[in-house]
């Protein structure tokens, strides 16, 4: 579709044309009354549209696409119930700073406020869960608003942006849709000036803190990935020899096989990651936000540590913990500037001797590795064993997508991430049902990669229908259900904190029959019950590339995620696997 400026067209065509000019080549959605006119020009557009089975799926697919590619995910749905169906992914993307643009249909402009059929106050409902949203009233505004939406979604701290489009301004049958085509060559948002470079004085201060510190730890967050700063992070770690913890949102930002990698901190972080932060004298927080799942009880968090905090969002600096050097700016640029500042003051030679600290760290690693007990013959599978097998028998650059629950924590703990953008999960909102659609989105964005979803039986039942989308669109993702027949994470809390009073957490291992269900959705289905079958089945799944695969791994429901910092307690109260003895420490 070629259009000269000034060409008379309608809002619907202009909307699709604007998406094309933003570089959109794939979008996820489902049509309906209010958005119908915008679906018509899709037939003539090079944009690939993937028809989902539920609008929540479209939103998570757009997120998965964005996580895997760094490009904004795009979803389009109709008004009313479709708009409300996509609220969960919007909130998910808002919490995890995922760039996404969602277009919703709306009733004709004149009907807004009359309780018209399928009317809902979409901008009102989504206001607190979007970085920004728009309700367009004039078709002439469409190209400008679409440009602004993509600009806002992808710059600064990324996030979801919603554009609500009344039907009359996109419907060529309605004279109100008439517009003259143009494409703005820049955006003019006087109230929006995302930061880039950090304050040089604060950077100098940070460099000084680093060369004075005896027990420093780099606390890397999801901002590293958003800023495409993984290389810079590695350079900083290599230069200074400082160990790195990667939060749940930063998994894959730092090679887990690097000698300085400490893995995941937090409520289910490993002992060394948690304890090294607690004992450190300097936390170098890079694109992390002192989330309560990482800090535990805030006043008891890393009590002796000075804080360097780098974040693109100035509101994060000092929100939870006052920094000694607070640098608002793009993580990649700031780390590069910090590296220069460190060189200027003679690093690494000017750093103190940290051998004692390093010895302490390796001591913890030796004493408290992640452990679990292998299953006895005849017992159900250990979920950790399944994950180890999957980890060791898939390509290094496999994209791992997870649901929310115990399986998510094990996946994050047991995987060895070697490449950035190989981990996709719902961290901030913790959205059950995320993994299947997000894996589809990731695979659409990275068709060259193997994409495995590790899902819980509970999560799987929330969005499994999107496997129909995957099968019909030939998107060959693979799903490993760690089927423990329970809402396992909730069961774990009931076991540990509610005297084993299990209230409404039992699901059943075979209702539904996951293998048959998968097959009915056009996937290949397997069931695995014994350890010997694990590897051969993974290999079979890996060899299938023309349709999705689902493996129902029957796992032991008694297995709990360790270590654990019980909610509201200090990180010093970390409970390690009872197998370590000492009464679980």
């Amino acid at each position: 579709m070629n259009m000269k400026p000034g060409t008379k067209t309608d809002g619907g065509k202009a909307l699709i044309k604007s998406l094309e000019l933003e570089g959109v080549d794939v979008m996820f959605g489902l049509p309906g009354g209010a958005i119908l006119p915008v679906y018509d020009p899709i037939i003539d557009s090079p944009i690939r549209h993937i028809l989902v089975r539920h609008e929540q799926g479209a939103g998570h697919m757009a997120e998965g696409f964005a996580h895997a590619t760094g490009r904004p995910g795009v979803a389009m749905v109709t008004s009313g119930p479709a708009a409300t169906n996509i609220v969960t992914p919007l909130c998910d993307a808002y919490m995890d700073s995922v760039p996404m643009v969602v277009i919703t249909g709306q009733v004709p402009y004149a009907a807004i406020g009359t309780d018209a059929f399928q009317e809902c106050d979409t901008t009102g409902i989504t206001l607190p869960v979007t970085k920004h949203n728009f309700l367009i009233s004039d078709p002439q505004d469409i190209p400008r608003v679409i440009r602004e939406a993509f600009h806002i979604a992808t710059t600064g701290r990324p996030g979801p942006v919603l554009v609500d489009v009344p039907k009359d301004i996109v419907d060529p049958k309605n004279p109100r849709s008439a517009m003259e085509w143009y494409w703005p060559d820049s955006v003019d948002l006087p109230g929006y000036k995302p930061l880039t470079h950090g304050d040089p004085n604060e950077i100098k201060k940070a460099a000084q803190l680093i060369v004075e510190s005896r027990r420093p730890v780099i606390y890397a967050g999801g901002g590293i990935l958003k800023a495409r700063a993984a290389d810079a992070l590695r350079e900083l770690a290599d230069l200074t020899g400082i160990h790195v913890v990667t939060t749940l949102m930063a998994r894959s930002a730092f090679d887990d096989t690097h000698p300085l990698a400490l893995g995941m901190p937090g409520m289910h972080g490993n002992y060394t990651a948690v304890t090294s932060m607690q004992e450190s004298d300097l936390l170098i927080a890079l694109g992390s936000r002192f989330d309560d799942r990482v800090t535990g009880k805030v006043p008891a968090f890393a009590p002796h540590a000075k804080i360097i905090h780098v974040d693109i969002d100035p509101a994060e600096l000092g929100k939870v913990r006052k920094p000694d050097a607070g640098i608002a700016g793009d993580c990649r640029l700031v780390i590069e500037e910090l590296i220069r500042a460190l060189h200027d003051i003679g690093a690494p030679q000017s750093q103190p001797d940290r051998s004692e600290w390093k010895a302490q760290i390796s001591g913890w690693q030796e004493k408290y590795p992640l452990t679990y007990q292998q299953s006895e013959p005849g017992e159900l599978l250990k979920p950790q064993f399944v994950l180890e097998q999957l980890r060791d028998n898939t390509p290094d650059d496999t994209i791992l997508v997870s649901g929310v629950g115990q399986h998510q924590m094990w996946a994050s703990q047991y995987w060895n991430f070697k490449h950035p953008y190989t981990w996709v999960n719902s961290g901030g909102l913790g959205t059950m049902g995320f993994s299947v659609p997000a894996a589809i989105g990731a695979k659409v964005g990275r068709p060259d990669r193997m994409v495995w979803a590790v899902d819980g039986d509970g999560c799987f039942q929330m969005t499994a229908q999107e496997l129909v989308t995957a099968a019909s669109e030939r998107i060959p993702i693979k799903v490993a259900i760690l089927n423990n027949a329970y809402l396992g994470m909730v069961r774990q809390w009931q076991e540990m904190f509610y005297e084993e009073r299990y209230s409404e957490v039992y699901l059943s291992p075979d209702l539904p029959d996951y293998k048959m269900w998968a097959e009915s959705m056009g996937c290949v289905g397997f069931r695995v019950e014994s350890p010997e079958e694990v590897l051969p089945t993974i290999e079979k799944a890996n060899s299938i590339d023309d349709r999705p695969v689902v493996i129902d791994f029957r796992t032991d429901s008694r297995e709990k995620v360790y270590p654990m910092v019980p909610a509201g307690l200090s990180n010093d109260d970390i409970v390690v696997d009872p197998a370590h003895g000492e009464g679980g420490r």
Partner: protein, 177 residues
């Protein structure tokens, strides 16, 4: 009444677009910030509005509040107006009992405060009083014993004070010919 040091006066320049006030109010509600009073009106530039608000916080959350506000796309500029650095005004309308026996006293009070009587009934009168918030507070307190029937105060409006010394590089003000 919250302690006065918890009150801060913010002058917020926003784009004059539909829904901006909702965004501000929504942000405050969602993050648990308190708005004590609020005044909104277009500015000399019709594309912009000014929201003047008195917010109710300790100083650390104030910084957080300003940073969160600043993230709203439609907000152009936020200034905290320190008490000595701004002229602030509120308007008060009050209907107070004023039976013939005490009417003289009430009117005397109104005169002292430079209030204006805007409506008179058999046993009550309505007064309009404009001024700095403290003055309105005093007036209200002194009127209370007579019996306040109804009272309404506007949100505070404020502008920064004009610097008392003309800076050297400031061009002299010229009369418009």
């Amino acid at each position: 009444m919250p302690a006065p040091h918890k009150h801060h006066l913010l002058s917020v320049l926003v784009e004059n677009k539909a829904g901006v006030l909702t965004r501000v109010a929504g942000l405050f509600a969602r993050r648990g910030f308190n708005i004590h009073s609020l005044a909104v009106a277009p500015t000399e530039d019709e594309r912009l509005s000014r929201i003047t608000m008195v917010v109710d916080v300790e100083s650390a959350p104030l910084e957080q509040m300003i940073k969160q506000l600043d993230k709203l796309i439609n907000i152009i500029e936020i200034d905290e107006l320190a008490p000595g650095k701004a002229v602030a005004r509120e308007l008060l309308l009050v209907t107070v009992r004023a039976d013939p026996q005490i009417r003289g006293q009430v009117i005397e009070l109104i005169r002292i405060f430079d209030g204006r009587i805007v409506n008179v009934g058999h046993d009550s009168i309505m007064v309009s009083l404009e001024g700095a918030p403290d003055k309105l507070e005093d007036f209200e307190n002194l009127l209370r014993p007579y019996g306040i029937v109804a009272i309404q105060r506007t949100g505070r409006i404020a502008l920064p004070r004009i610097p008392s010394e003309v800076a050297e590089d400031t061009p002299p003000i010229r009369a418009v010919s």
